[in-house]
Symmetry: D2
Subunit: 373 residues, 4 copies
Amino acid sequence: MSFNTFGRLFRFTSFGESHGAAIGCVVDGVPPRMTLSAQEIQLELDRRRPGQSRFTTQRQEPDAVKIMSGVFTGEDGVQRTTGTPVMLMIENVDQRSKDYSDIKDKYRPGHAGYVYDVKYGLHDYRGGGRASARETAVRVAAGAIARRIVPGLSVRAALVQMGPHKVDRARWDWNEVAKNPFFCPDPVQAKFFEDYLDGIRKAGSSIGAVIEVVADGVPAGLGAPVYGKLDAELASALMGINAVKGVEIGDGMAVAELRGEDNADEMRMGNDRKPVFLSNHAGGILGGISTGQPIVARFAVKPTSSILTPRKTVDRYGNDTEIVTKGRHDPCVGIRAVPIAEAMVACVLADHYLLHRGQMGEGTVWPFAKPGA
Amino acid sequence: MSFNTFGRLFRFTSFGESHGAAIGCVVDGVPPRMTLSAQEIQLELDRRRPGQSRFTTQRQEPDAVKIMSGVFTGEDGVQRTTGTPVMLMIENVDQRSKDYSDIKDKYRPGHAGYVYDVKYGLHDYRGGGRASARETAVRVAAGAIARRIVPGLSVRAALVQMGPHKVDRARWDWNEVAKNPFFCPDPVQAKFFEDYLDGIRKAGSSIGAVIEVVADGVPAGLGAPVYGKLDAELASALMGINAVKGVEIGDGMAVAELRGEDNADEMRMGNDRKPVFLSNHAGGILGGISTGQPIVARFAVKPTSSILTPRKTVDRYGNDTEIVTKGRHDPCVGIRAVPIAEAMVACVLADHYLLHRGQMGEGTVWPFAKPGA
Amino acid sequence: MSFNTFGRLFRFTSFGESHGAAIGCVVDGVPPRMTLSAQEIQLELDRRRPGQSRFTTQRQEPDAVKIMSGVFTGEDGVQRTTGTPVMLMIENVDQRSKDYSDIKDKYRPGHAGYVYDVKYGLHDYRGGGRASARETAVRVAAGAIARRIVPGLSVRAALVQMGPHKVDRARWDWNEVAKNPFFCPDPVQAKFFEDYLDGIRKAGSSIGAVIEVVADGVPAGLGAPVYGKLDAELASALMGINAVKGVEIGDGMAVAELRGEDNADEMRMGNDRKPVFLSNHAGGILGGISTGQPIVARFAVKPTSSILTPRKTVDRYGNDTEIVTKGRHDPCVGIRAVPIAEAMVACVLADHYLLHRGQMGEGTVWPFAKPGA
Amino acid sequence: MSFNTFGRLFRFTSFGESHGAAIGCVVDGVPPRMTLSAQEIQLELDRRRPGQSRFTTQRQEPDAVKIMSGVFTGEDGVQRTTGTPVMLMIENVDQRSKDYSDIKDKYRPGHAGYVYDVKYGLHDYRGGGRASARETAVRVAAGAIARRIVPGLSVRAALVQMGPHKVDRARWDWNEVAKNPFFCPDPVQAKFFEDYLDGIRKAGSSIGAVIEVVADGVPAGLGAPVYGKLDAELASALMGINAVKGVEIGDGMAVAELRGEDNADEMRMGNDRKPVFLSNHAGGILGGISTGQPIVARFAVKPTSSILTPRKTVDRYGNDTEIVTKGRHDPCVGIRAVPIAEAMVACVLADHYLLHRGQMGEGTVWPFAKPGA
């Protein structure tokens, strides 16, 4: 099976390979009359774009997005969505005409080339083809539209761990995230990461990372009770990012060690007749449905398989051999996962916002109206 | 949105509440001519059934499943699937006519009651209604069919951690899993868990756990490259189990600390012209597609919110109050998640097996045929 | 492929065979807090129920529907939907223990038995199994819920032709439909049909029919512009009713003979700032989207294949033979299609009503606000 | 709701407006290793392309298709599908910079502009925007791939009626279809249509038509028994073509007049142990499943609303007015529906071929093996 569509009511279908003519997606289900310009989408893409520091692949891609359909400029000169499919296209520019002959017949351990060959009987080995991290640009583009659909929504992510080194949460400052090449919210640790990652990069090695995503302004009530649970959908969205091997919501794997009385997020009434939660172990989701607290998710990204250390492998003809992956690559591919994760979370939330509105209508029936109601 | 269908080609739609007449599901897409009896499904249900030890809720439910459609007994007296929907129904028996008046208007911290009220404007509070763990019986029933669809598939799970206490993997013995009330593969630790959980139970508290699922015999090539990735689908299936807050594939969250050379699963040719992997950090999935190695997943289950320690909360009328949850409950709800997890993994694999066969046909195009092929 | 789910946001999954324990469906996506009783659904089922006149099959089925999940009775004693799946079950009662040995191995020309055997390798021949018209009872049950979702919606159908005999539209009276066993809006023609169909019935023959469905109160704007067009969805829903071979919207097949100036539904402004259409050739749908006019559809139902005249056929072992179908059957199966068609149209409209609300929100942006808007 | 994806396993997502930069689609689920070139797709597009005779719109569009992704050229120099999404793009060339000011604020009776405004609150009026027949080019492109998926499949269509004038089936010759500008299989009637349509064209009027599609080589067993019936899916696919108002399978609406003994397609055993049907009233489908006979469908296309005769209408500001549509248009838009219908039928069959293979595997279980089997 090939499955390249994400979402239900807000959904996008992705296409394109690393070394083809273009990558892009068709975003369907966008509410009409939203202002939308390529520049807005470009701002998000620029955050993910490679080649902006020595810590990401040196492939030079402007990642210039074009809106090919689904918008219309009215008499007021403003471009708006029409409610029909928005096709976003990013032409590939830096398809380096490299000689792949030294690796094209060898399977890189930890890379998808082998399974593509088993599944499809062939694959485009150039730059990873469809498995390339390049595909994630289209998610960021789609996410730029998704972000605008839920009123008041803010989705931010940050790198919170690289190798064994975690950030100090006491120093967390969202404003720092844009100021270092690691999307790191801790300025002290960001400084440390420069030397640390330089060492890994120069050794031709790579390292894993943990990213945390926080969504503020999520209305309570989004999600579904059994199989389309909001946390299940987020888990799928984040695990579906290249190289991710673990996903946590709220306290995540650590809940295994908690007792019931410690895990409970106690409640008190706030001044606005909405309840206030005294903690957020749940990460903003209970029973698959958003509580109105911030949604907090984390995920671990494995180190890329493109390394200079020779590894044992086999070739397409069944011979034992070794492989070394030279060329442009990311020493910590988790870095670029930060804007991708924001986009994926935004897409899930936009989809569930529309789905919820479909079944329930627009007015939330707030509890606490009156006794007996 | 209410979404109660799981899967694409192999898919089931669940219905029923804890205190309604029955729970069950409609399983659609089942290949025809498979032998199928209620007894086979019952065997799986009996593993999940509550009330079998003092470590799970004392609700007495026989969980007797009936096959209401989709089978036909031929002239040979054997009951087989017809390829049309298989409806599985489990009548509720032990709907204790308990007085819910002391908790029906209070929101239990960590429980879904509050968000159901926000989302739907009402909810069936008796026994958790649709959010009850009781619904998971239908997943086990559907999974009993799913297990039979992929030839040679074996899906097993075990509890590997309770509270801070992990099993010793050197003592791992799958045969032990059925011999203790914890589904624990380590007989020494299982013994320890008896006292440990008794202590928690008697204190009216609850505790979290980690479960590991292993699928052997998964054909290489299942999955999809971008949004229907096999690991993303498994993450969704496992995160969708009640009370799960974290999911890992292979090395999981620990990959953050790995270097590329340590994370690579090196390959060598085996005697049968298939490659042998020298490790399984990937947990059997690369690029969203199965490698043919065992698929390994883990997930953390939070402690249940039904505890005797009073917790601060609010009621439906907006008053601050406290809540204590008496009555039948699971001191470690993770225990019963073991057969549920097996079922969910089996359902994902059955679905992707059929999807793969749809796009690719039955013959796998194995690499290594010959140079130049 | 087995596909037994209808709809997207409002959707139901059907199960059950003619001679199994029960038939029924799981209705998902129902908005919460709607009052819903089994009696209301029963009213619709009673209209489709067989055995009410000599002109439909003499199978005696009470078709008593039970609501097995998805409703909750509040403190006011009123039963309401909870927003979770509503399972509707109808137990089979009159599964006459007839000896099928004379037909079980013969393929009835015009019946699905042969293709079921080819597709699935087996089938439940008793009473048609899954292909039985009995399955349509669950559509009527689901439709009874669907009807209530779109505010102000009225869906009515009538038999407008039996064999070559059409009703006289000048005598059309919706009140007559419930007064004769044919759902015929023309009392004169209904009288004629009694003798006409008696003749066919006594000859052991059967006859085709045309049914017309009219939906009033459909909001303008429902549908989708390209592949989920409202007319395409209605065509699928109606063609999916057993024995239907043709579907028309508005002027239907007759548009082939029209010129552009005759086919245009001209417009004039009404007093309420909404336009008035001067005709309805389009049947209430333009470009796949509802116009606000009544939606008008028609479909032709073939004569049932259960007849007393011997027909040439083959048996399951590859022998040429003849078949005669005795037993209970419908001389004009189109009659019972009337309430089924209403139900299917209601389901399509409910689904698109929710889908529209999801993407657009609740407020329709009505044109004509002001120049330049 | 905006819904722009067609199909389940074989599916394509369409984008683009008449006067935007490009139209196109992403075709997902294509089996890998199929040879595929842009030239092959172009051949189909050239059949639909406007401006090839005086009987279709004079818009000059080369409709040159580019394959932007999903193919790979191996060492043998042959381009093959990779199993990942195939993006097909057609740039718009002849977007005549016409002054739309005389019609942009008036609703054309019978055109979708009014309902787009009601649904979306705005629409791209230039050339019909998304509602333009131009979108159908992408269906033809997707269909060119679909045709190749079912082995041995042939899908052909022909115009069988224009206005009140039908072809003489005794003169039917498929070879004639490509020899006249009407896709007419009857050379005598084709000659007549030249004068007939010239008269309509010169009068600034338009006329309806009926198209017949025949699919040969469809394996028995495709389809689904209840809601994804093959005839229901074809009805949806054909009704979803612009301007279609009626769809028939086999004898279509005429079955209303048939008796059971006349409608039965009797069977006899053929020499190859497959049954032979003695007629094809069913149009190759029984109970929603293909019989192995040719699938025969027909549909009626209404006359286009772009005519020179003034029609009463309203404008966007709520004023009564009149409209005349000048400019390029099709006097019989049904003509160009011929290749579109072939494409849509091919897409439905490809999808169901893959779906069937998914659930059933590749080997058909043919009846007639032996008594008792």
